[in-house]
C-alpha cells in the first residue's frame, strides 16, 4: 500500500520537472548521467564539458542514450562500439562521424542541432570565437557538448587519474575491472572521487 503512493509521487514530480523544463525554455535542463557517474557531475544542456579519456567520454554520453536520447560522436576514428554497448549506449541511436576532416566545427554544430549529447574529439585547434559561437548554438538547441581534448571554456573538466586494473597479474588473468580516480575541475574548484567502472 505504501509503495504505490510513493511511486505516484515520484511520477508526478518527474512530470512536473518535465513541464517546468518545457516552460523554462530549452536552456539548462538536466541530462541524465550514467549511475556510475551519479553525484560526480550533473550534465546540463547548453554547456560543454571536457574529458581526457575515451572511457569518460563514453560514460558521459551513456546516461542520455540509456534515457532514450540520440547521441553522436564526431572525430572519433577509433570508436570502440563494443565498449559503448557495454556502457549501455544504444548503437541504433548513435551517429558516428569518424573523420569530419576540416569541417569538424561545422559538422559538430549541425549535430548539436539535433542530438542530445555530442562527443567531439577536435582534430585541430579551436579559437575562443568559434567556441563561443558553438556555445550559443548549444544553448539555443538544448544539447550537451563533451569535448575529448582541449576546449576554451567549459563548465567542468573531468580527468581520469590513477587507474587500477584488477584481475590481471604478471602473465596471468585478464583485465577485469578498473578502479578510476576521476577529478572534476569547475573553474578553480576541484573534487575527486574513486569510481569502479563497469
Amino acid at each position: 500500500m505504501s509503495a504505490q503512493p510513493l511511486e505516484a509521487v515520484a511520477t508526478v514530480a518527474d512530470l512536473q520537472r518535465r513541464i517546468e523544463s518545457l516552460q523554462g525554455g530549452p536552456t539548462r535542463l538536466t541530462v541524465p548521467v550514467h549511475p556510475v557517474l551519479e553525484g560526480l557531475v550533473q550534465l546540463r544542456t547548453g554547456t560543454s564539458y571536457a574529458v581526457d579519456s575515451a572511457t569518460l567520454a563514453l560514460g558521459l554520453a551513456a546516461g542520455a542514450s540509456r534515457a532514450g536520447e540520440w547521441v553522436g560522436f564526431a572525430g572519433w576514428g577509433d570508436f570502440g562500439a563494443e565498449a559503448a554497448d557495454q556502457w549501455g549506449i544504444d548503437l541504433r541511436r548513435t551517429v558516428l562521424v569518424p573523420d569530419p576532416g576540416d569541417l569538424w566545427l561545422e559538422v559538430t554544430a549541425a549535430l548539436v542541432d539535433v542530438l542530445k549529447v555530442v562527443v567531439l574529439k577536435p582534430t585541430g585547434q579551436v579559437d575562443a570565437k568559434s567556441a563561443s559561437i558553438l556555445d550559443a548554438r548549444l544553448r539555443a538547441r538544448s544539447s550537451v557538448l563533451v569535448v575529448w581534448g582541449e576546449w576554451p571554456r567549459v563548465e567542468a573538466r573531468l580527468s581520469a587519474e590513477q587507474a587500477v586494473w584488477s584481475g590481471v597479474g604478471r602473465g596471468r588473468g585478464r583485465l577485469d575491472q578498473r578502479g578510476l580516480r576521476v577529478a572534476v575541475t569547475r573553474g578553480t574548484r576541484r573534487s575527486a572521487r574513486d569510481l569502479v567502472l563497469p
Binding site: A54, G80, A81, Q86, P100, V114, G171
Partner: protein, 537 residues
C-alpha cells in the same frame, strides 16, 4: 467507358538507350540491336535484336554469338519507371486521368469526340510522344482494358487499332492463345497457361471461351478463370488513374506596380497565407521555397530559400523582404528615406515550393521535439556537407579480434553480411571491451628486462617477460615514450587464416598490457612485429 491504351514495346530497352544517351557514354541509333539482361539471361530485346535471332530467356553468350554488335543493358526496373514518367506527363497534358499499368503501358479513358474521334485522339497522342522522343508507340481503343491492350499490340508503329463498341468479344476470340504470354498481369503464369492451352488443342482464345465456367475454374484455377472472363469480352475495367499533380505555387500581381519593399510585403501577406494553407490542405509543409519577383515583365529577382524546419507565412514574408532589399545596391550610404525602395517597381511576386515534406514529419510531439525525424534531417545536412559515406552508424558483429567484432554502416543503410553475435567465437578476449579500436593498428615495441624484443614461440610461450613497451601512435606523445609494464596477461595464441599468404594471417598472440601510468592496451604479436590493436583508455 471506352479505354485507350498506349503501348511502347520493349520499354526496358528504350529506357536503357535513353539512359546511355543521357550519360553520353555512346550514341546508338534506335535501330541498333539491344537487349536488357538480368542474371546473364536476356529479359527484353528490341526488334532489331529479334531480327538477328535474339530471344527472351537466352543466355548472354548465345545472344552475343547470334548478334555480336548487341548492346547489353543491365536490368533496372527503377530506370524504366523513371523514364516512363515523362511519357505519362505528356499524355496527362492532353488527357487527365492516366493510369500507369506498368512501364511501357498506360491506359486512359478514351476522349470521345473531343479530339474529333478516337483515331484522331490516338494520332495526336502519337505526335506528342514522338516529339518527346518516343518513336515506337502504338495505340488501341476498345470497351475494356484487356481488349484495348491486345488491340494496341496489333497496331503498327505510331498507329491505332480501334475495336468498335460491342465487338470486343469477337476481336478477343479470334486471337491465338500465345497473346496470353505477355498480358497485363500475365508473366510466367500467362506463359504457362498459353503453353498448356496450345498443347490441349485450343489454339485460339475463342476455343477457350467456349469451355464452361465450372470446367475452367476446376482445371485452370483463379488465373485461368480471369482469362476466361476476359475472353468472354466485357470484363469489368477499373483504371487506377492517377490525379494530375496539384498546383501548389501561388502568385500575386500588383496593379499599379509597387515601389517599396514594405508595401510588397504588406500585400503578399494573404498570398503567403494561401500558399501555406494550400500545402497544409495536402498535409504538406515546404522546407525550400523559391521566391520570384517580376518587374517590367521579367524576373528581376529569384532566389531559393531554405528553412531549417518549415516555412510559415510569416517566414515567407520575411524572406520576401530580405530578398527585395538585398536586390538593392549596397545600403551603407543611402539615406534613411529610400532604404526600403526597390530598384524597379515590382508587379508580381511568386512562391514556388521546391521541396515539400509531409507535415507529420515536422509536427511537435506532446513533450516537444519529434526526435527521430529531426535527427534524420539534421544528419542529412551533415551528409550534404562531408559526403554520404562520412556519417556512420556503429554496429556489433561476431568475431575473434576486437576490430572484427564491430563494424560501421553508412547512415541510413541497413547492415548486411554481419557475422552472427550469438556464436561462441573461441579465441576472443572476454571482459571489458576496449574503448578505442584502431582501424589501422599502430606498430608497437615490447622488450624484456635486457632490452630484447619479446616474441612468442611456436608452442605459445613467451621468450621473456614484457618489461617496457611503447606504441607508435600518431598524436599520442605519451604512448610513444617507453613505459614500464605494471602488469600483463597473455599470451593468447591464435592461428588465423593460415591459408592466405598476406594480411593479418598466420600465427599471432594477444596480450593485455597495463603500463605504470594505468593505461591498458591490447597488443598483438605477429611474426612481423608487435601491433597495438586497441586501447582501454
Amino acid at each position: 467507358m471506352r479505354v485507350l491504351v498506349a503501348w511502347c514495346p520493349d520499354w526496358s530497352v528504350t529506357a536503357g538507350m535513353f539512359e546511355l544517351a543521357e550519360t553520353g557514354e555512346a550514341q546508338h541509333p534506335a535501330s541498333q540491336p539491344a537487349a536488357v539482361l538480368a542474371n546473364n539471361i536476356v529479359e527484353v530485346c528490341n526488334g532489331a535484336a529479334r531480327a538477328e535471332g535474339v530471344r527472351r530467356g537466352q543466355r548472354r553468350r548465345d545472344a552475343q554469338s547470334r548478334c555480336p554488335e548487341l548492346v547489353l543493358l543491365p536490368a533496372n526496373p527503377e530506370r524504366d519507371v523513371r523514364y516512363f514518367e515523362p511519357v505519362l506527363a505528356t499524355v496527362e497534358d492532353l488527357r487527365p486521368g492516366v493510369a500507369p499499368i506498368r512501364p511501357g503501358l498506360l491506359a486512359v479513358s478514351a476522349p470521345g469526340r473531343y479530339f474529333g474521334g478516337e483515331p484522331h485522339a490516338a494520332a495526336l497522342l502519337s505526335q506528342h510522344l514522338v516529339d518527346a522522343g518516343v518513336w515506337d508507340c502504338r495505340f488501341g481503343v476498345a470497351d475494356d482494358l484487356f481488349t484495348a491492350e491486345q488491340a494496341a499490340r496489333q497496331a503498327p508503329v505510331q498507329d491505332c487499332v480501334v475495336v468498335s463498341p460491342g465487338a470486343s468479344a469477337a476481336f478477343i476470340q479470334a486471337l491465338p492463345v500465345r497473346v496470353l504470354a505477355d498480358t497485363v498481369d500475365g508473366g510466367a503464369e500467362g506463359r504457362e497457361l498459353a503453353d498448356l492451352l496450345r498443347r490441349l488443342g485450343l489454339p485460339t482464345l475463342g476455343d477457350f471461351a467456349r469451355l464452361s465456367r465450372a470446367e475452367v475454374s476446376n482445371r485452370f484455377g483463379a488465373f485461368g478463370l480471369s482469362v476466361w472472363q476476359r475472353a468472354q469480352g466485357g470484363a469489368p475495367t477499373r483504371l487506377g488513374s492517377r490525379e494530375p499533380p496539384p498546383e501548389l505555387a501561388c502568385e500575386i500581381g500588383f496593379e499599379p506596380p509597387l515601389e517599396s519593399a514594405e508595401a510588397v510585403c504588406f500585400s503578399v501577406r494573404t498570398t503567403a497565407e494561401r500558399f501555406v494553407a494550400g500545402l497544409a490542405e495536402r498535409q504538406l509543409v515546404a522546407v525550400a521555397v523559391r521566391i520570384e519577383a517580376e518587374a517590367d515583365g521579367v524576373v528581376m529577382s529569384a532566389r531559393t530559400w531554405l528553412h531549417p524546419r518549415c516555412f510559415t507565412s510569416r517566414d515567407l514574408i520575411d524572406r520576401v523582404h530580405w530578398q527585395l532589399q538585398a536586390g538593392m545596391a549596397s545600403s551603407g550610404l543611402r539615406s534613411r528615406r529610400d532604404a526600403g525602395a526597390v530598384s524597379a517597381p515590382v508587379e508580381r511576386v511568386r512562391f514556388l515550393p521546391e521541396t515539400v515534406e509531409p507535415a507529420s514529419a515536422h509536427a511537435e510531439g506532446l513533450w516537444g521535439g519529434g526526435a527521430d525525424e529531426q535527427v534524420t534531417r539534421g544528419v542529412a545536412r551533415v551528409q550534404a556537407m562531408i559526403g554520404f559515406d562520412a556519417v556512420r552508424t556503429p554496429v556489433l558483429q561476431g568475431g575473434r579480434s576486437v576490430a572484427d567484432r564491430q563494424s560501421t554502416v553508412a547512415w541510413g543503410e541497413r547492415p548486411v553480411g554481419l557475422r552472427p553475435l550469438d556464436r561462441p567465437w573461441p579465441g576472443r578476449i572476454p571482459g571489458p571491451a576496449p574503448s578505442r579500436v584502431f582501424a589501422v593498428p599502430p606498430a608497437a615495441e615490447v622488450v624484456d628486462e635486457a632490452g630484447r624484443s619479446v616474441t612468442v614461440t611456436e608452442r605459445g610461450a613467451v621468450t621473456g617477460e614484457p618489461w617496457r613497451y611503447r606504441i607508435d601512435a600518431a598524436a599520442d606523445v605519451a604512448a610513444r615514450r617507453w613505459t614500464p609494464v605494471a602488469s600483463w596477461a597473455g599470451p593468447w595464441p591464435v592461428d588465423d587464416a593460415w591459408w592466405v599468404s598476406e594480411g593479418g594471417a598466420g600465427r599471432s598472440a594477444r596480450f593485455q598490457v597495463v603500463g605504470v601510468d594505468g593505461r591498458a592496451w591490447l597488443l598483438v604479436w605477429r611474426a612481423t612485429g608487435w601491433e597495438a590493436e586497441a586501447g582501454y583508455d
